[in-house]
Symmetry: C2
């Protein structure tokens, strides 16, 4: 029996976008959904209560970071990641692979796994498909990911082909190693770079394992957006209709819309929180870089069309002051708004899908969002 249950409830007649319900051991929620990222067992600057107040239903946490610090054994001893971080809703963990490839300077990929050095203490480490499963089982996430190689952009075709075939073999090893399939769902990951035929090959191979959900990796890694959309177009017809489709690491408003249009049900991205920590807000009228001097005496809210805690109570002038004065509360306020914005956007998207007018929403959104672009 699978640890999760996915029900496809409606397909938008205007666009084919999907609306569904996903149930995990820690709750049930509607899709398409955006998952805030809690890298180190915390969504930067925000409390679990604040995340709940904006209706966050599932967060992503990073296996690599927790493995390095504080260590998955400590978290297991604490009763698992949910209890450790006081988050009783759903958690998805990645496999650690992405950070091994992006954070550690020197790394060596073999069939058996990846050798690398910790970015914290320089110690030698070895990540295998089995180890990735072990760590995620200790963390106790609701959804875990297979170890894969996220091929960089650009990459040669032979490299990408070898890499995706290894990713397929690694999925098999992950599945063979997993002992918690009744409590944790394990997703396979489609790779294949920017090569349509390789994307198809990977999709067929990964989907054949029948994992309870299917992820698409290796996109939004520096390629032009149209390339990403083209890859999604290639993959979409192959995806299992009655399983959730997760597009990894994608989360700007435009990309969310484009992904939903192509049958994606789950998204995660650090973009919104990172933007907030850099003193900028994503709003219904585009990006507002509130740390700029132009907002010094602007006593209006970050987003004129938002009813979040930040926008109801604070002005751009105040938030700018906090950011200029290096006050943590400024980052809290922008991060809160930015996540609220994306989560609320997904609510509107789900509503529009159910009402068969997702295409209209997309067009209206673009018009308003890009209106201030200079």
């Amino acid at each position: 029996m699978s640890a999760i249950k996915f029900e496809l409830k409606h397909i938008c007649k205007q666009t084919g976008a999907r609306y569904g319900i996903l149930e995990t051991p820690h709750g049930s929620f509607e899709t398409p959904i955006f998952m805030p990222v809690g890298t180190q067992a915390t969504v930067k600057g925000l409390s679990p209560e604040e995340l709940k107040s904006m209706d966050a239903e599932i967060i992503l946490s990073n296996t690599y970071h927790l493995w390095m610090r504080p260590g998955e054994d400590l978290i297991e001893e604490a009763g698992g990641l949910h209890q450790f971080m006081n988050w009783d809703r759903s958690i998805l963990t990645d496999s650690g692979g992405f950070q091994v490839f992006s954070l550690s300077g020197t790394r060596k990929i073999e069939e058996e796994g990846v050798h690398f050095r910790s970015h914290i203490d320089g110690s030698k480490r070895f990540l295998t498909p089995e180890k990735a499963v072990d760590i995620q089982q200790a963390l106790g996430s609701d959804i875990m990911m297979q170890l894969d190689e996220c091929t960089p952009y650009p990459a040669g075709k032979i490299y990408v082909k070898n890499s995706l075939e290894r990713t397929t073999r690694w999925l098999e090893r992950c599945l063979n190693h997993q002992t918690t399939s009744n409590k944790q769902a394990l997703f396979g990951i489609i790779q294949g770079g920017m090569y349509p035929d390789l994307r198809k090959q990977s999709a067929r191979e990964i989907i054949a394992f029948g994992t309870p959900g299917v992820a698409i990796g290796g996109l939004s890694v520096g390629e032009p957006a149209v390339e990403m959309y083209r890859m999604l177009d290639v993959i979409q017809p192959l995806l299992p209709e009655h399983k959730p489709h997760y597009l990894m690491g994608v989360g700007t408003p435009h990309h969310l819309f484009e992904g939903v249009l192509r049958g994606i049900d789950m998204f995660d991205c650090v973009w919104a929180t990172r933007l907030g920590r850099n003193g900028a807000a994503v709003t219904s009228i585009g990006q507002v870089t509130v740390r700029n001097a132009t907002y010094a005496r602007d006593f209006s809210p970050l987003d004129p069309n938002c009813d979040c805690y930040t926008c109801k109570n604070y002005t751009r002038a105040y938030i700018r002051h906090l950011i200029k004065a290096d006050e943590i509360f400024g980052l809290r306020l922008t991060s809160y708004h930015n996540l609220y914005f994306l989560i609320n956007l997904m609510k509107q998207i789900r509503m529009a899908i159910q009402n068969d007018c997702f295409g209209d929403l997309f067009m209206d959104f673009k018009k308003q969002f890009d209106s201030q672009r200079r």
Copy 2:
């Protein structure tokens, strides 16, 4: 008519400690009270709602910092400090003098005021008693402080005498300049260093002006604690019984008890929040430096006897992880607990005064608080 109203409700039969009610234009609260410090129009890391959830009734904000950034004119334009920072309870502002003396490297004191350079942009500034009043009137605090000189420790007697006499003259200028006495109370400040006769002289001079409250400055500036207590003992008999007594910049648990014992009604201090940001907690069993390795696998709360948000939901191990990983949420959790601890301690103190057993509470507290001291 005064902007504030103070009612002395009870004097502890065991100790002489005072319990009262202080009413400002933004609310009424019991004394003795601890005021969290919101230096730059924010109590570092915490939201107004969090401060309210721990029953903070009045906060202190720093005139110097707000004058330098974002500027008192901007805050006035925002509708005053309360509205700017979304805090509708009481605010006390200092005069800016303390920071001029402690933050700016070069400064020159004259009868007219103090010349100094901004610690932010190095610009030349001049703070006079009149300017201190102007800024605080623009901020719109409930209680404002006269410009004084906080004499350093140690300081020669002639210097201290000249200084305190100038502080007296500055109080007169502040009062002559103030135009908002029906909306803002202006407190005089007793100086006099560590010289009993000078403290008495200053107390007599300052109290003679009949300000609605009286502050004691220049203590907790590096002197041995017994010196501070001795000065308070000298001043106490001279203080007006039916006005609030404010001991500036004091706020460790022991000092709060010792101050209350000597008739103090109001306290402020950055100690608790600074301690929190440094990864340590003040608890009923003493200081817990939670960032230390000894707490890595300690799955108990910061304080075994605390029911605050932090202690109810998070372990020392989790908080230590956040601090080691430079996660803001760790500072939020320790800061929250530390302020809650002091505010809750003051509640217990007020209760004990009303029950004529403040001395017993003090003894019990010391026993438990110092129990872990090694």
